[in-house]
């Protein structure tokens, strides 16, 4: 682990979940692991915020859930990205890039 795990910026968890599911449907633990791995441990997502987020995204129509068998023959709830979610992800990514660039500019100007 490179750094101490840090808290997620408010509202970015949804975006990260959508991004993680862009590749393939996954179950809850898989999503948590993937976010942790790709961020090199910077973000550790705990179930207390992950599952409410699933419920929220599902209600918004961005995700769909279905029960599937896992690799080791267990049943798990898989989350599948929907067309609406894909659109949302695109929009949020664009917005994020815009804001990040703006913040970077401001920080550079200050120093």
């Amino acid at each position: 682990m490179a750094d101490k795990p840090s808290g997620l910026v408010q509202g970015t968890l949804d975006m990260l979940i959508l991004k993680t599911l862009e590749l393939e449907p996954m179950h809850g633990y898989g999503i948590a692991m993937r976010i942790e791995q790709i961020s090199k441990g910077v973000f550790q997502v705990n179930p207390g915020s992950l599952f409410p987020a699933f419920r929220r995204l599902e209600r918004a129509g961005w995700l769909k859930s279905e029960w599937r068998d896992t690799a080791n023959n267990r049943r798990a709830k898989y989350y599948v990205l929907q067309a609406l979610g894909r659109k949302q992800l695109k929009g949020e990514t664009r917005e994020w890039a815009r804001q990040a660039a703006a913040i970077a500019r401001i920080l550079e100007a200050e120093s």
């Binding site: 267990r74 798990a76 709830k77």
Partner: protein, 393 residues
């Protein structure tokens, strides 16, 4: 679409609670198992792995609680639980329960009663079509007048009414009316009823359809007044004549003079005065016959009429008022009572007509009681609020 899905999901959560809960349990268990496996793979023994995973997860119940809180149906559920709890508590203290219900009932009842009064005298429109077009023409800020006042609403004189009718252009139709009381007994004890003096345009401009016969027309309201007819209200027809089939054409004695009934007004039409229903309506021209030596019809200082009309399309109240202001000097010049002394005459000639909304009718009750009623409604609401606050604590 999204709203619909949200609603459907929520309803599923409410009505198939068991299943949704089971699925959530299974999902969380699966998550925990996966976490334990992962930790064992990294070299912890089973016991350590389970402990670590549990700590990470932070209690399945609290996670479930947070998932539930993410959706709207949890609100409904909490509300329902609170309600059940409240009802259970109430059963243990019937005295408090009675006091609570009684004070709420009183508070709500008082509010409803006051609001009904307000609605009747202030808010409800007259039972005629397009009531919002109705406009009253009267002198703005009259500040006193000289002469004979022979009505509850002595706004204008008959000569003024003739001038207004001839000169105004803001209204597509105008009519004049005045309330009065008639004795309809042919002899013996007095039998008073609510009467209306109406100009020939009254029913036509209001746009009411007679239930029987025909209404008074401008031809019925000519100076010679050859055959003055009378229109009776539905209530009067039922009350005094038992709904007689052949009411049209019958004679009614009004102040000892016979009048022929020309028509019956529909039950929904009570007049233009809120809080007082008319019984019989006679044309203005019959006034000298009925009042004989006390007639004010042709007196320039006899105040007894109210003038109303329908605004033409595209005429706002302001535009109509401006127009009436503009024609005021000529009108008051032409109707100045000759016997006025210079002071009275100067005051008279300074009058300005204005247009005022009349869609909710005319009401003496309103002027007297509107403000106190609003105040009472406010007080009633406050009391209800206090009662609620009292009960909540």
């Amino acid at each position: 679409m999204s709203l619909l899905r949200n609603l459907a999901g929520g309803l599923r959560g409410l009505f198939r609670k068991q299943q949704v809960e089971r699925e959530m349990d299974e999902e969380l268990r699966g998550y925990l198992d996966a976490a334990v496996n992962e930790k064992m793979r990294r070299g912890l023994n089973r016991e350590q792995a389970v402990r670590a995973a549990r700590i990470e997860m932070g209690g399945a119940e609290s996670v479930k609680q947070r998932v539930r809180a993410a959706s709207w149906e949890s609100l409904v559920e909490t509300l329902w639980q609170d309600l059940k709890f409240g009802l259970r508590l109430l059963r243990f203290s019937p005295a408090f329960e009675a006091a609570a219900i009684l004070s709420l009932a009183l508070g709500i009842g008082a509010n409803t009663a006051i609001f009904q009064l307000l609605d009747a005298i202030r808010l409800r429109a007259l039972p005629v079509k397009n009531a919002q077009e109705l406009t009253e023409v009267r002198i703005a800020e009259r500040n006193g007048a000289t002469g004979a006042f022979v009505s509850r609403y002595p706004n204008l004189t008959n000569p003024m009414w003739s001038q207004i009718r001839a000169q105004q252009q803001a209204l597509s139709g105008v009519f004049a009316w005045g309330p009065t009381s008639f004795n309809i007994s042919p002899g013996g004890p007095v039998h008073p009823v609510q009467g209306l003096w109406v100009s020939g345009e009254f029913f036509g401009v209001l746009g009411i359809v007679p239930e029987r016969g025909r209404f008074l027309l401008p031809e019925d309201d000519r100076a010679e007044c050859a055959s003055p007819g009378v229109v009776v209200s539905h209530a009067f027809w039922q009350r005094e004549y038992g709904g007689d089939e052949f009411i049209v054409g019958r004679k009614i004695t009004i102040e000892k003079h016979p009048f022929e009934v020309t028509g019956v007004a529909p039950a929904s039409f009570y007049g233009v005065e809120v809080g007082r229903n008319f019984d019989v309506a006679v044309p203005l021209c019959a006034e000298p016959t009925i009042r004989s030596e006390f007639s004010v019809l042709n007196r320039r200082d006899g105040w007894w009429l109210t003038v109303m009309g329908r605004r033409k399309p595209g005429w706002t109240m302001e535009k109509a008022s401006a127009h009436l202001r503009a024609i005021s000097p000529a009108i008051f010049e032409a109707t100045l009572p000759s016997e006025f002394d210079p002071g009275d005459a100067k005051h008279f000639l300074g009058y300005k007509l204005g247009a005022f909304p009349a869609g909710t009718g005319i009401s003496g009750l309103r002027e007297t009681y509107e403000d106190p009623l609003w105040l009472m409604l406010g007080l009633g609401a406050l009391i209800l609020l206090i009662a609620s606050a009292n009960l909540a604590t």
